[in-house]
Amino acid sequence: MEKLRTGVVSVLLLAALTLAGAGLMEQSAMANKINVSCSRIGCGGGSDMCVSITFGMSGGTISVNCYMSYR
């Protein structure tokens, strides 16, 4: 029973550490990428509504904020 517990904890701990490591690697890879997904960006046509985006960067994290305003 003790061996089973040890095995379960070892596997879970290894899996958690692997996923945490994968997250760290993904974070560092993301530092060179900018993905913007903001629907209806722009202003024009017959619409009275404008959508603007701002970028912020801090500690390797890029934040994108979308603002909606009326002309």
Partner: protein, 156 residues
Amino acid sequence: MKILERVTAYVVTVLLVGSALDKIVHWPLFIAVLEGPPLSLKGFASPVAGAVIMAECLVALSVAARQTRRDGFLLGGLLFALFTGVILVLVFVRPGTACGCTFAFGTGRADPLHAAMNGILTFLCLFLRHSMPEHPSGRTAGDAPPRSASLTQVQS
């Protein structure tokens, strides 16, 4: 098993302290994630953010200390279960969005792998809490006192 308990406790402590420090350093971003969609906690994002950071610190401290480790694993399991639930909701509602978990330290997006990591940590904490003895000495509440203590009582 004792060594694994200790290693897990240190891993959980490092993860939670790192995550809490990351949130403090990136406080404006954390507030923006809580206030923005789909969480939309406008008006009470700051108290929620403070509570999350304090909960992380509390769990980290209680897991690090040997005397409170068992209860710390229970609290840690509950906290990770809450995080898993929030991430799973975000994965279904808006996959890939920022979850506010971390910013510079690990992944901060709501994706299935992140949910899996938190789910594994939940199970790990609760499993260790279940398998740990009730007292750090190794005795549980229902156990008889040590033989030497019984003999001393009989002799006196």
